[in-house]
Protein backbone atom coordinates (compact mmCIF):
# COMPACT_ATOMS: atom_id res chain seq x y z
CA UNK A 1 0.00 0.00 0.00
CA UNK A 2 2.74 2.45 1.00
CA UNK A 3 4.41 1.71 -2.35
CA UNK A 4 1.35 2.77 -4.29
CA UNK A 5 1.02 5.90 -2.18
CA UNK A 6 4.66 6.92 -2.72
CA UNK A 7 4.27 6.25 -6.43
CA UNK A 8 1.18 8.45 -6.72
CA UNK A 9 2.75 11.27 -4.71
CA UNK A 10 6.01 11.21 -6.71
CA UNK A 11 4.20 10.93 -10.04
CA UNK A 12 1.91 13.87 -9.28
CA UNK A 13 4.90 15.87 -8.01
CA UNK A 14 6.64 15.38 -11.35
CA UNK A 15 3.46 16.21 -13.21
CA UNK A 16 3.05 19.36 -11.11
CA UNK A 17 6.55 20.45 -12.07
CA UNK A 18 5.75 20.02 -15.76
CA UNK A 19 2.47 21.89 -15.53
CA UNK A 20 3.47 24.77 -13.26
CA UNK A 21 7.20 25.46 -13.42
CA UNK A 22 8.31 28.26 -15.72
CA UNK A 23 11.70 26.78 -16.52
CA UNK A 24 12.24 24.12 -19.18
CA UNK A 25 15.09 22.47 -17.25
CA UNK A 26 12.88 22.13 -14.18
CA UNK A 27 10.25 20.59 -16.43
CA UNK A 28 12.79 18.00 -17.61
CA UNK A 29 13.55 17.28 -13.95
CA UNK A 30 9.81 16.81 -13.40
CA UNK A 31 9.77 14.32 -16.25
CA UNK A 32 12.63 12.44 -14.59
CA UNK A 33 10.76 12.39 -11.28
CA UNK A 34 7.77 10.84 -13.04
CA UNK A 35 10.00 8.21 -14.62
CA UNK A 36 11.72 7.52 -11.30
CA UNK A 37 8.34 7.11 -9.62
CA UNK A 38 7.34 4.39 -12.08
CA UNK A 39 10.69 2.59 -11.74
CA UNK A 40 10.49 2.66 -7.94
CA UNK A 41 6.90 1.44 -8.02
CA UNK A 42 7.58 -1.42 -10.43
CA UNK A 43 10.60 -2.64 -8.48
CA UNK A 44 8.84 -2.44 -5.11
CA UNK A 45 5.54 -4.11 -6.02
CA UNK A 46 7.21 -7.05 -7.74
CA UNK A 47 9.63 -7.64 -4.84
CA UNK A 48 8.81 -10.97 -3.17
CA UNK A 49 11.38 -10.53 -0.43
CA UNK A 50 13.29 -13.66 -1.41
CA UNK A 51 16.81 -14.52 -2.56
CA UNK A 52 18.57 -12.64 -5.33
CA UNK A 53 18.92 -14.32 -8.74
CA UNK A 54 20.97 -15.90 -10.46
CA UNK A 55 20.00 -19.50 -9.58
CA UNK A 56 23.22 -21.39 -8.87
CA UNK A 57 22.07 -25.00 -8.74
CA UNK A 58 21.20 -25.42 -5.05
CA UNK A 59 18.21 -23.05 -5.08
CA UNK A 60 14.76 -23.42 -6.60
CA UNK A 61 13.16 -20.82 -8.82
CA UNK A 62 10.23 -20.36 -6.43
CA UNK A 63 12.62 -19.16 -3.70
CA UNK A 64 14.00 -16.42 -5.94
CA UNK A 65 12.97 -12.88 -6.76
CA UNK A 66 11.63 -12.26 -10.22
CA UNK A 67 14.51 -10.82 -12.34
CA UNK A 68 12.38 -9.61 -15.25
CA UNK A 69 11.28 -6.30 -13.63
CA UNK A 70 14.92 -5.38 -13.12
CA UNK A 71 15.69 -6.05 -16.77
CA UNK A 72 12.72 -3.93 -17.83
CA UNK A 73 13.68 -1.11 -15.46
CA UNK A 74 17.26 -1.09 -16.76
CA UNK A 75 15.89 -0.62 -20.28
CA UNK A 76 13.55 2.05 -18.97
CA UNK A 77 16.43 3.92 -17.32
CA UNK A 78 18.39 3.89 -20.58
CA UNK A 79 15.39 5.27 -22.47
CA UNK A 80 14.80 7.91 -19.78
CA UNK A 81 18.44 9.00 -19.79
CA UNK A 82 18.52 9.37 -23.56
CA UNK A 83 15.26 11.30 -23.76
CA UNK A 84 16.36 13.73 -21.04
CA UNK A 85 19.78 14.14 -22.65
CA UNK A 86 18.17 14.95 -25.98
CA UNK A 87 15.65 17.32 -24.39
CA UNK A 88 18.47 19.20 -22.62
CA UNK A 89 20.30 19.49 -25.96
CA UNK A 90 17.20 20.99 -27.51
CA UNK A 91 16.89 23.44 -24.61
CA UNK A 92 20.50 24.58 -25.13
CA UNK A 93 19.69 25.03 -28.82
CA UNK A 94 16.58 27.06 -27.98
CA UNK A 95 18.59 29.16 -25.53
CA UNK A 96 20.80 30.25 -28.44
CA UNK A 97 17.77 31.72 -30.21
CA UNK A 98 15.84 33.20 -27.29
CA UNK A 99 18.35 33.63 -24.43
CA UNK A 100 15.81 32.13 -22.05
CA UNK A 101 14.55 28.80 -20.74
CA UNK A 102 11.01 29.99 -20.12
CA UNK A 103 8.41 27.65 -21.65
CA UNK A 104 6.28 30.69 -22.48
CA UNK A 105 8.94 31.44 -25.11
CA UNK A 106 7.68 28.46 -27.06
CA UNK A 107 4.05 29.43 -26.62
CA UNK A 108 3.54 27.33 -23.50
CA UNK A 109 2.77 23.65 -23.48
CA UNK A 110 -1.00 23.83 -23.99
CA UNK A 111 -1.22 26.38 -26.78
CA UNK A 112 -0.40 25.81 -30.38
Amino acid sequence: MINNLVFVILFLLGFYAILVKKNLIKMVIGLNIMEGAIFYWFISITDRGKAIPIVNGTQVASQMNDPIPQALILTGIVIGASTSAFLLTLIIELNKFTNSTNPDQIGGMIED
Partner: protein, 505 residues
Protein backbone atom coordinates in the same frame (compact mmCIF):
# COMPACT_ATOMS: atom_id res chain seq x y z
CA UNK B 1 9.97 -19.69 -38.04
CA UNK B 2 10.69 -17.14 -40.69
CA UNK B 3 14.01 -15.30 -40.79
CA UNK B 4 12.56 -12.59 -43.05
CA UNK B 5 10.73 -10.97 -40.12
CA UNK B 6 13.90 -10.13 -38.21
CA UNK B 7 15.50 -8.96 -41.46
CA UNK B 8 12.73 -6.36 -41.84
CA UNK B 9 13.98 -4.76 -38.59
CA UNK B 10 17.70 -5.43 -38.94
CA UNK B 11 18.30 -4.17 -42.50
CA UNK B 12 17.36 -0.51 -41.81
CA UNK B 13 19.00 -0.67 -38.38
CA UNK B 14 22.28 -1.92 -39.87
CA UNK B 15 22.09 0.69 -42.62
CA UNK B 16 21.63 3.44 -40.04
CA UNK B 17 24.70 2.25 -38.14
CA UNK B 18 26.84 1.88 -41.28
CA UNK B 19 25.95 5.23 -42.92
CA UNK B 20 28.27 7.42 -40.77
CA UNK B 21 31.26 5.17 -41.57
CA UNK B 22 30.54 5.12 -45.30
CA UNK B 23 29.77 8.84 -45.27
CA UNK B 24 33.15 9.66 -43.72
CA UNK B 25 35.05 8.56 -46.82
CA UNK B 26 32.68 8.96 -49.74
CA UNK B 27 29.50 10.90 -50.41
CA UNK B 28 28.49 8.95 -53.49
CA UNK B 29 29.06 5.59 -51.78
CA UNK B 30 26.61 6.70 -49.11
CA UNK B 31 24.04 7.60 -51.77
CA UNK B 32 24.40 4.20 -53.44
CA UNK B 33 24.09 2.50 -50.05
CA UNK B 34 20.92 4.42 -49.16
CA UNK B 35 19.23 3.47 -52.43
CA UNK B 36 20.43 -0.13 -52.18
CA UNK B 37 19.17 -0.61 -48.60
CA UNK B 38 15.85 1.01 -49.43
CA UNK B 39 15.32 -1.34 -52.37
CA UNK B 40 16.51 -4.32 -50.31
CA UNK B 41 14.08 -3.55 -47.48
CA UNK B 42 11.23 -3.01 -49.92
CA UNK B 43 11.99 -6.26 -51.75
CA UNK B 44 12.04 -8.24 -48.47
CA UNK B 45 8.49 -7.04 -47.89
CA UNK B 46 7.51 -7.97 -51.44
CA UNK B 47 9.26 -11.35 -51.06
CA UNK B 48 7.07 -12.17 -48.03
CA UNK B 49 3.95 -11.37 -50.03
CA UNK B 50 5.02 -13.36 -53.11
CA UNK B 51 6.17 -16.47 -51.21
CA UNK B 52 3.03 -16.61 -49.05
CA UNK B 53 0.62 -15.50 -51.73
CA UNK B 54 -1.68 -18.54 -51.43
CA UNK B 55 -1.92 -18.22 -47.64
CA UNK B 56 -2.76 -14.52 -47.95
CA UNK B 57 -5.50 -15.33 -50.44
CA UNK B 58 -7.22 -17.88 -48.20
CA UNK B 59 -6.61 -15.79 -45.02
CA UNK B 60 -4.46 -18.36 -43.21
CA UNK B 61 -1.31 -16.22 -43.41
CA UNK B 62 0.80 -16.23 -40.25
CA UNK B 63 4.56 -15.99 -39.76
CA UNK B 64 6.47 -16.07 -36.47
CA UNK B 65 10.06 -15.67 -35.42
CA UNK B 66 11.23 -16.50 -31.90
CA UNK B 67 14.17 -14.32 -30.85
CA UNK B 68 16.94 -16.54 -29.46
CA UNK B 69 14.77 -19.61 -30.10
CA UNK B 70 12.85 -19.01 -26.85
CA UNK B 71 9.42 -20.56 -27.27
CA UNK B 72 6.62 -18.18 -26.15
CA UNK B 73 5.50 -17.08 -23.63
CA UNK B 74 9.13 -16.79 -22.40
CA UNK B 75 11.00 -14.94 -25.13
CA UNK B 76 10.16 -12.11 -27.48
CA UNK B 77 8.01 -13.25 -30.39
CA UNK B 78 7.92 -11.47 -33.71
CA UNK B 79 4.77 -12.30 -35.58
CA UNK B 80 3.16 -11.20 -38.79
CA UNK B 81 -0.52 -11.72 -39.52
CA UNK B 82 -2.72 -9.94 -42.05
CA UNK B 83 -2.97 -6.80 -39.89
CA UNK B 84 0.82 -6.51 -39.52
CA UNK B 85 1.32 -7.31 -43.19
CA UNK B 86 -1.13 -4.59 -44.20
CA UNK B 87 0.66 -1.90 -42.18
CA UNK B 88 4.12 -3.23 -42.99
CA UNK B 89 3.36 -2.99 -46.72
CA UNK B 90 2.05 0.56 -46.31
CA UNK B 91 5.21 1.53 -44.40
CA UNK B 92 7.60 -0.07 -46.90
CA UNK B 93 5.80 1.40 -49.91
CA UNK B 94 5.64 4.96 -48.61
CA UNK B 95 9.14 4.93 -47.07
CA UNK B 96 10.63 3.70 -50.37
CA UNK B 97 9.16 6.71 -52.16
CA UNK B 98 9.88 9.18 -49.36
CA UNK B 99 13.57 8.15 -49.24
CA UNK B 100 13.85 8.71 -53.01
CA UNK B 101 12.02 12.05 -52.62
CA UNK B 102 14.52 13.02 -49.91
CA UNK B 103 17.45 12.30 -52.25
CA UNK B 104 16.18 15.10 -54.43
CA UNK B 105 14.86 17.29 -51.66
CA UNK B 106 17.36 17.43 -48.79
CA UNK B 107 20.46 19.36 -49.75
CA UNK B 108 22.40 19.54 -46.48
CA UNK B 109 23.53 17.26 -43.62
CA UNK B 110 22.34 14.28 -45.63
CA UNK B 111 24.38 11.77 -43.61
CA UNK B 112 22.60 12.58 -40.35
CA UNK B 113 19.25 12.75 -42.11
CA UNK B 114 19.42 9.23 -43.52
CA UNK B 115 20.68 7.74 -40.23
CA UNK B 116 17.53 9.02 -38.52
CA UNK B 117 15.25 8.09 -41.42
CA UNK B 118 16.42 4.47 -41.40
CA UNK B 119 16.14 4.28 -37.60
CA UNK B 120 12.54 5.47 -37.93
CA UNK B 121 11.93 2.79 -40.54
CA UNK B 122 13.37 0.14 -38.23
CA UNK B 123 11.30 1.36 -35.26
CA UNK B 124 8.09 1.34 -37.30
CA UNK B 125 8.67 -2.21 -38.49
CA UNK B 126 9.51 -3.20 -34.93
CA UNK B 127 6.21 -1.79 -33.66
CA UNK B 128 4.26 -3.54 -36.39
CA UNK B 129 5.95 -6.93 -35.95
CA UNK B 130 6.55 -7.32 -32.23
CA UNK B 131 4.45 -9.62 -30.08
CA UNK B 132 5.78 -8.42 -26.73
CA UNK B 133 4.23 -5.52 -24.88
CA UNK B 134 7.43 -4.13 -23.35
CA UNK B 135 9.20 -4.47 -26.68
CA UNK B 136 6.37 -2.41 -28.16
CA UNK B 137 6.99 0.30 -25.56
CA UNK B 138 10.72 0.35 -26.39
CA UNK B 139 10.04 0.67 -30.12
CA UNK B 140 7.52 3.46 -29.46
CA UNK B 141 10.23 5.38 -27.57
CA UNK B 142 12.72 4.67 -30.36
CA UNK B 143 10.24 6.09 -32.88
CA UNK B 144 9.83 9.21 -30.73
CA UNK B 145 13.51 9.87 -30.13
CA UNK B 146 14.47 9.33 -33.78
CA UNK B 147 11.70 11.48 -35.23
CA UNK B 148 12.23 14.41 -32.82
CA UNK B 149 15.70 15.35 -34.24
CA UNK B 150 14.15 15.40 -37.70
CA UNK B 151 11.49 17.83 -36.46
CA UNK B 152 14.33 20.13 -35.37
CA UNK B 153 16.27 19.38 -38.56
CA UNK B 154 16.11 22.92 -39.95
CA UNK B 155 17.91 24.14 -36.81
CA UNK B 156 15.83 27.30 -36.58
CA UNK B 157 13.87 28.58 -33.61
CA UNK B 158 10.54 27.26 -34.84
CA UNK B 159 11.83 23.73 -35.35
CA UNK B 160 13.51 23.62 -31.94
CA UNK B 161 10.35 24.78 -30.18
CA UNK B 162 8.31 22.19 -32.02
CA UNK B 163 10.77 19.44 -31.15
CA UNK B 164 10.77 20.35 -27.42
CA UNK B 165 6.98 20.17 -27.35
CA UNK B 166 6.97 16.94 -29.33
CA UNK B 167 9.48 15.38 -26.94
CA UNK B 168 7.58 16.43 -23.79
CA UNK B 169 4.24 15.15 -25.02
CA UNK B 170 5.72 11.99 -26.52
CA UNK B 171 7.69 11.11 -23.38
CA UNK B 172 4.66 11.61 -21.13
CA UNK B 173 2.61 9.44 -23.49
CA UNK B 174 5.34 6.81 -23.31
CA UNK B 175 5.24 6.95 -19.49
CA UNK B 176 1.51 6.23 -19.50
CA UNK B 177 2.09 3.25 -21.81
CA UNK B 178 4.83 2.11 -19.41
CA UNK B 179 2.43 2.29 -16.44
CA UNK B 180 0.09 0.08 -18.47
CA UNK B 181 2.93 -2.39 -19.07
CA UNK B 182 3.79 -2.42 -15.34
CA UNK B 183 0.16 -3.12 -14.42
CA UNK B 184 -0.06 -5.91 -17.01
CA UNK B 185 3.11 -7.56 -15.76
CA UNK B 186 2.16 -7.20 -12.10
CA UNK B 187 -1.29 -8.70 -12.60
CA UNK B 188 -0.62 -11.35 -15.24
CA UNK B 189 3.10 -12.08 -14.91
CA UNK B 190 3.66 -12.10 -18.65
CA UNK B 191 4.52 -9.71 -21.45
CA UNK B 192 3.48 -11.82 -24.43
CA UNK B 193 0.51 -10.45 -26.39
CA UNK B 194 -1.13 -13.86 -26.85
CA UNK B 195 -0.71 -14.86 -23.20
CA UNK B 196 -2.10 -11.50 -21.99
CA UNK B 197 -5.03 -11.80 -24.38
CA UNK B 198 -5.80 -15.32 -23.13
CA UNK B 199 -5.86 -14.36 -19.44
CA UNK B 200 -7.09 -10.78 -19.55
CA UNK B 201 -10.75 -11.57 -18.87
CA UNK B 202 -9.80 -13.26 -15.55
CA UNK B 203 -8.79 -9.89 -14.06
CA UNK B 204 -11.17 -7.83 -11.96
CA UNK B 205 -13.15 -5.19 -13.84
CA UNK B 206 -11.38 -2.35 -12.02
CA UNK B 207 -7.92 -3.53 -13.12
CA UNK B 208 -9.15 -4.07 -16.68
CA UNK B 209 -10.49 -0.53 -16.71
CA UNK B 210 -7.28 0.89 -15.26
CA UNK B 211 -5.04 -0.85 -17.80
CA UNK B 212 -7.25 0.18 -20.75
CA UNK B 213 -7.34 3.75 -19.44
CA UNK B 214 -3.55 4.08 -19.21
CA UNK B 215 -2.92 2.56 -22.65
CA UNK B 216 -5.62 4.76 -24.12
CA UNK B 217 -4.18 7.97 -22.64
CA UNK B 218 -0.66 7.03 -23.74
CA UNK B 219 -1.65 6.26 -27.32
CA UNK B 220 -3.89 9.31 -27.63
CA UNK B 221 -1.11 11.63 -26.43
CA UNK B 222 1.27 10.12 -28.98
CA UNK B 223 -1.38 10.27 -31.70
CA UNK B 224 -2.51 13.85 -31.05
CA UNK B 225 -6.22 13.24 -30.38
CA UNK B 226 -8.23 16.20 -29.09
CA UNK B 227 -7.23 17.08 -25.52
CA UNK B 228 -3.57 16.38 -26.34
CA UNK B 229 -3.31 17.77 -29.88
CA UNK B 230 -1.32 20.90 -28.99
CA UNK B 231 2.04 19.62 -30.17
CA UNK B 232 0.97 18.15 -33.49
CA UNK B 233 0.42 21.13 -35.76
CA UNK B 234 3.77 22.67 -34.83
CA UNK B 235 5.78 19.44 -35.02
CA UNK B 236 4.29 18.40 -38.34
CA UNK B 237 4.90 21.75 -39.99
CA UNK B 238 8.29 22.93 -38.68
CA UNK B 239 10.29 20.17 -40.38
CA UNK B 240 11.33 19.72 -44.05
CA UNK B 241 8.38 18.70 -46.23
CA UNK B 242 9.64 15.15 -46.71
CA UNK B 243 9.56 14.67 -42.93
CA UNK B 244 6.15 16.35 -42.69
CA UNK B 245 4.90 13.76 -45.15
CA UNK B 246 6.47 10.99 -43.09
CA UNK B 247 5.10 12.23 -39.74
CA UNK B 248 1.67 13.20 -40.95
CA UNK B 249 1.17 10.39 -43.40
CA UNK B 250 2.94 7.33 -42.03
CA UNK B 251 3.93 7.64 -38.35
CA UNK B 252 0.42 8.51 -37.12
CA UNK B 253 -0.82 5.39 -38.97
CA UNK B 254 1.62 3.29 -36.93
CA UNK B 255 -0.10 4.59 -33.78
CA UNK B 256 -3.44 3.60 -35.34
CA UNK B 257 -1.96 0.10 -35.69
CA UNK B 258 -0.97 0.10 -32.00
CA UNK B 259 -4.50 1.21 -31.09
CA UNK B 260 -6.09 -1.61 -33.12
CA UNK B 261 -3.67 -4.30 -31.94
CA UNK B 262 -3.95 -3.42 -28.25
CA UNK B 263 -7.67 -2.80 -28.03
CA UNK B 264 -8.90 -5.57 -30.32
CA UNK B 265 -6.33 -8.36 -30.07
CA UNK B 266 -4.62 -7.91 -26.71
CA UNK B 267 -7.11 -6.30 -24.34
CA UNK B 268 -10.18 -7.32 -26.29
CA UNK B 269 -12.87 -4.97 -27.49
CA UNK B 270 -15.47 -6.43 -25.10
CA UNK B 271 -13.59 -4.76 -22.23
CA UNK B 272 -14.11 -1.34 -23.80
CA UNK B 273 -17.82 -2.06 -24.31
CA UNK B 274 -18.22 -3.38 -20.75
CA UNK B 275 -16.55 -0.34 -19.22
CA UNK B 276 -18.36 2.10 -21.52
CA UNK B 277 -15.04 3.52 -22.75
CA UNK B 278 -16.03 3.02 -26.41
CA UNK B 279 -18.65 5.80 -26.26
CA UNK B 280 -16.07 8.09 -24.66
CA UNK B 281 -13.57 7.34 -27.43
CA UNK B 282 -16.20 7.94 -30.11
CA UNK B 283 -17.15 11.36 -28.70
CA UNK B 284 -13.53 12.43 -28.10
CA UNK B 285 -12.52 11.36 -31.61
CA UNK B 286 -15.41 13.25 -33.21
CA UNK B 287 -14.61 16.39 -31.17
CA UNK B 288 -11.01 15.99 -32.32
CA UNK B 289 -12.17 15.73 -35.91
CA UNK B 290 -14.31 18.86 -35.83
CA UNK B 291 -11.71 20.86 -33.86
CA UNK B 292 -9.03 19.92 -36.39
CA UNK B 293 -11.20 21.21 -39.23
CA UNK B 294 -12.04 24.45 -37.41
CA UNK B 295 -8.38 25.12 -36.56
CA UNK B 296 -7.43 24.48 -40.18
CA UNK B 297 -10.09 26.97 -41.23
CA UNK B 298 -8.46 29.69 -39.10
CA UNK B 299 -4.90 28.81 -40.12
CA UNK B 300 -2.97 31.01 -42.51
CA UNK B 301 0.10 28.80 -42.97
CA UNK B 302 -0.16 26.10 -45.63
CA UNK B 303 1.83 23.40 -43.81
CA UNK B 304 0.10 24.00 -40.48
CA UNK B 305 -3.24 23.83 -42.29
CA UNK B 306 -2.27 20.38 -43.58
CA UNK B 307 -1.19 19.36 -40.05
CA UNK B 308 -4.56 20.38 -38.57
CA UNK B 309 -6.23 18.40 -41.31
CA UNK B 310 -4.26 15.39 -40.02
CA UNK B 311 -5.79 15.86 -36.54
CA UNK B 312 -9.23 15.95 -38.13
CA UNK B 313 -8.75 12.83 -40.25
CA UNK B 314 -7.16 10.88 -37.41
CA UNK B 315 -10.20 11.64 -35.27
CA UNK B 316 -12.37 10.34 -38.10
CA UNK B 317 -10.39 7.08 -38.32
CA UNK B 318 -10.53 6.43 -34.56
CA UNK B 319 -14.24 7.32 -34.42
CA UNK B 320 -15.20 4.92 -37.18
CA UNK B 321 -13.07 2.10 -35.76
CA UNK B 322 -14.92 2.24 -32.43
CA UNK B 323 -18.22 1.22 -34.07
CA UNK B 324 -16.64 -2.25 -34.41
CA UNK B 325 -18.79 -3.64 -37.20
CA UNK B 326 -17.18 -5.29 -40.24
CA UNK B 327 -18.18 -2.39 -42.48
CA UNK B 328 -16.82 0.17 -40.02
CA UNK B 329 -13.46 -1.57 -39.66
CA UNK B 330 -13.09 -1.83 -43.44
CA UNK B 331 -14.03 1.86 -43.77
CA UNK B 332 -11.49 2.85 -41.12
CA UNK B 333 -8.67 0.87 -42.72
CA UNK B 334 -9.60 2.20 -46.17
CA UNK B 335 -9.38 5.73 -44.76
CA UNK B 336 -5.94 4.86 -43.33
CA UNK B 337 -4.76 4.06 -46.87
CA UNK B 338 -6.52 7.01 -48.44
CA UNK B 339 -5.32 9.56 -45.87
CA UNK B 340 -1.77 8.24 -46.21
CA UNK B 341 -1.75 8.61 -50.00
CA UNK B 342 -3.48 12.00 -50.03
CA UNK B 343 -1.49 13.57 -47.19
CA UNK B 344 1.84 12.41 -48.58
CA UNK B 345 0.93 13.69 -52.05
CA UNK B 346 -0.16 17.03 -50.58
CA UNK B 347 3.05 17.44 -48.56
CA UNK B 348 5.32 16.35 -51.43
CA UNK B 349 3.71 18.77 -53.89
CA UNK B 350 3.62 21.56 -51.29
CA UNK B 351 7.29 20.97 -50.46
CA UNK B 352 8.17 21.43 -54.12
CA UNK B 353 5.96 24.51 -54.59
CA UNK B 354 7.27 26.23 -51.44
CA UNK B 355 10.71 26.61 -53.03
CA UNK B 356 9.18 29.28 -55.31
CA UNK B 357 7.79 31.30 -52.41
CA UNK B 358 9.33 33.42 -49.69
CA UNK B 359 7.23 32.00 -46.86
CA UNK B 360 4.52 29.57 -45.92
CA UNK B 361 1.69 32.11 -45.63
CA UNK B 362 -1.29 31.89 -47.93
CA UNK B 363 -0.51 35.21 -49.57
CA UNK B 364 2.98 33.92 -50.42
CA UNK B 365 1.43 31.19 -52.56
CA UNK B 366 -0.08 33.78 -54.91
CA UNK B 367 0.36 32.73 -58.53
CA UNK B 368 2.41 29.68 -57.63
CA UNK B 369 0.42 27.62 -60.15
CA UNK B 370 2.17 29.38 -63.06
CA UNK B 371 5.61 28.36 -61.78
CA UNK B 372 4.85 24.70 -62.31
CA UNK B 373 1.33 23.97 -63.46
CA UNK B 374 1.51 20.16 -63.34
CA UNK B 375 2.67 20.01 -59.71
CA UNK B 376 -0.01 22.49 -58.70
CA UNK B 377 -2.65 20.34 -60.40
CA UNK B 378 -1.27 17.47 -58.31
CA UNK B 379 -1.87 19.63 -55.22
CA UNK B 380 -5.43 20.31 -56.42
CA UNK B 381 -6.08 16.58 -56.91
CA UNK B 382 -4.77 15.79 -53.40
CA UNK B 383 -6.91 18.57 -51.92
CA UNK B 384 -9.94 17.32 -53.84
CA UNK B 385 -9.34 13.88 -52.37
CA UNK B 386 -9.19 15.31 -48.85
CA UNK B 387 -12.51 17.06 -49.38
CA UNK B 388 -14.02 13.89 -50.86
CA UNK B 389 -14.55 14.48 -54.56
CA UNK B 390 -14.83 11.45 -56.84
CA UNK B 391 -12.84 9.84 -58.48
CA UNK B 392 -10.14 10.32 -55.81
CA UNK B 393 -9.81 7.66 -53.11
CA UNK B 394 -10.92 10.19 -50.49
CA UNK B 395 -14.43 9.94 -51.90
CA UNK B 396 -14.53 6.14 -51.58
CA UNK B 397 -13.22 6.08 -48.01
CA UNK B 398 -15.45 8.92 -46.80
CA UNK B 399 -18.44 7.26 -48.49
CA UNK B 400 -17.84 4.05 -46.56
CA UNK B 401 -17.18 5.91 -43.30
CA UNK B 402 -20.52 7.72 -43.59
CA UNK B 403 -22.24 4.47 -44.60
CA UNK B 404 -20.78 2.74 -41.52
CA UNK B 405 -22.05 5.52 -39.21
CA UNK B 406 -25.51 5.46 -40.83
CA UNK B 407 -25.86 1.68 -40.63
CA UNK B 408 -25.19 1.86 -36.88
CA UNK B 409 -27.81 4.58 -36.36
CA UNK B 410 -25.25 7.32 -35.62
CA UNK B 411 -26.67 9.85 -38.07
CA UNK B 412 -25.33 12.80 -36.05
CA UNK B 413 -21.78 11.42 -36.41
CA UNK B 414 -22.27 11.14 -40.18
CA UNK B 415 -23.47 14.76 -40.18
CA UNK B 416 -20.31 15.84 -38.35
CA UNK B 417 -18.18 14.11 -41.00
CA UNK B 418 -20.12 15.85 -43.80
CA UNK B 419 -19.79 19.20 -41.99
CA UNK B 420 -16.04 18.56 -41.71
CA UNK B 421 -15.87 17.92 -45.45
CA UNK B 422 -17.58 21.25 -46.10
CA UNK B 423 -15.01 22.98 -43.86
CA UNK B 424 -12.26 21.15 -45.74
CA UNK B 425 -13.70 22.37 -49.05
CA UNK B 426 -13.57 25.96 -47.79
CA UNK B 427 -10.01 25.87 -46.51
CA UNK B 428 -8.57 24.03 -49.52
CA UNK B 429 -10.37 26.13 -52.15
CA UNK B 430 -8.84 29.31 -50.68
CA UNK B 431 -5.33 28.00 -51.34
CA UNK B 432 -6.28 26.82 -54.83
CA UNK B 433 -7.80 30.19 -55.74
CA UNK B 434 -4.73 32.02 -54.38
CA UNK B 435 -2.49 29.71 -56.37
CA UNK B 436 -4.27 30.48 -59.62
CA UNK B 437 -4.20 34.27 -59.14
CA UNK B 438 -2.55 36.08 -62.04
CA UNK B 439 0.91 37.50 -61.38
CA UNK B 440 3.69 39.01 -63.45
CA UNK B 441 6.19 36.22 -63.91
CA UNK B 442 8.99 38.64 -64.77
CA UNK B 443 12.56 37.55 -65.58
CA UNK B 444 13.76 34.22 -64.14
CA UNK B 445 14.96 34.46 -60.57
CA UNK B 446 18.72 34.10 -60.06
CA UNK B 447 18.14 32.80 -56.56
CA UNK B 448 16.02 30.03 -58.05
CA UNK B 449 18.89 28.71 -60.18
CA UNK B 450 20.88 28.01 -57.04
CA UNK B 451 17.92 26.24 -55.48
CA UNK B 452 17.48 23.99 -58.51
CA UNK B 453 20.91 22.52 -57.94
CA UNK B 454 19.97 21.55 -54.40
CA UNK B 455 16.50 20.34 -55.17
CA UNK B 456 17.24 18.04 -58.12
CA UNK B 457 13.78 18.78 -59.43
CA UNK B 458 13.15 15.76 -61.60
CA UNK B 459 13.24 13.27 -58.71
CA UNK B 460 11.08 15.44 -56.47
CA UNK B 461 8.36 16.06 -59.04
CA UNK B 462 8.35 12.43 -60.20
CA UNK B 463 7.68 11.12 -56.69
CA UNK B 464 5.01 13.77 -56.13
CA UNK B 465 3.33 12.72 -59.40
CA UNK B 466 3.58 9.08 -58.37
CA UNK B 467 1.59 9.72 -55.19
CA UNK B 468 -0.97 11.85 -57.03
CA UNK B 469 -1.47 9.12 -59.63
CA UNK B 470 -1.77 6.58 -56.80
CA UNK B 471 -4.57 8.72 -55.29
CA UNK B 472 -6.40 8.70 -58.63
CA UNK B 473 -5.84 5.04 -59.56
CA UNK B 474 -6.73 3.68 -56.12
CA UNK B 475 -9.81 5.89 -56.15
CA UNK B 476 -11.03 4.12 -59.27
CA UNK B 477 -9.99 0.57 -58.36
CA UNK B 478 -10.59 0.75 -54.60
CA UNK B 479 -12.76 -2.38 -54.79
CA UNK B 480 -9.55 -4.40 -55.29
CA UNK B 481 -8.47 -3.42 -51.77
CA UNK B 482 -11.54 -5.08 -50.25
CA UNK B 483 -10.20 -8.63 -50.59
CA UNK B 484 -7.13 -8.11 -48.39
CA UNK B 485 -9.05 -5.74 -46.07
CA UNK B 486 -11.58 -8.46 -45.30
CA UNK B 487 -8.74 -10.74 -44.24
CA UNK B 488 -7.38 -7.95 -42.01
CA UNK B 489 -10.80 -7.41 -40.43
CA UNK B 490 -11.10 -11.13 -39.77
CA UNK B 491 -7.83 -11.01 -37.80
CA UNK B 492 -8.97 -7.91 -35.89
CA UNK B 493 -12.30 -9.37 -34.89
CA UNK B 494 -11.02 -12.82 -33.86
CA UNK B 495 -8.28 -12.49 -31.22
CA UNK B 496 -8.36 -16.28 -30.79
CA UNK B 497 -6.73 -16.65 -34.23
CA UNK B 498 -3.74 -14.65 -33.01
CA UNK B 499 -3.54 -16.49 -29.67
CA UNK B 500 -3.65 -19.92 -31.31
CA UNK B 501 -1.11 -19.01 -33.96
CA UNK B 502 1.44 -17.67 -31.44
CA UNK B 503 1.00 -20.24 -28.69
CA UNK B 504 0.58 -23.08 -31.19
CA UNK B 505 -2.64 -24.63 -29.98
Amino acid sequence: MSITLILLIIVPLATAILIPFVDSFSNSARKIMVVFSTLLEFSIGMFIIVVNFNEIMDNSFFLTYYLGQWIPPIGITLSMDMLSLFFSTLISFSLLLIVIYSIGFIGHHEGKYYVLLFLIWSAMHGIVLTGDIFNLDVFLELLLITSAPLVAFKRNRNGTEAAIKYMFYGTIGGLFVFIGVVLVYFNLGTLNFAEISKNFSNLSLFVQKLISFFFLIGIFIKMGIFPFHFWLSKAHSACPSSISALLSGVIVKVYVYVFIRLFWNVIGYEVLIETGLNHVILVIALISSIIGHIMALYENDVKRMLAYSTIANLGLIIAVLTINTKLALIAGLLHVVSHLLMKVSLFTTTGYLLQFTHGHKRSDLKGVAYKNMLVFIGFVIGAGGMVGFPPMIGFASKWFVIKAFMSDGLNWAALIIILGSIFAFVYYIRYIVTGFKKINLGPPDKFRLILTVFYREQVVTDIAFFFVIAVLISGIFFKLLFGPLEGVVQVIQNPSLYINAVLGM
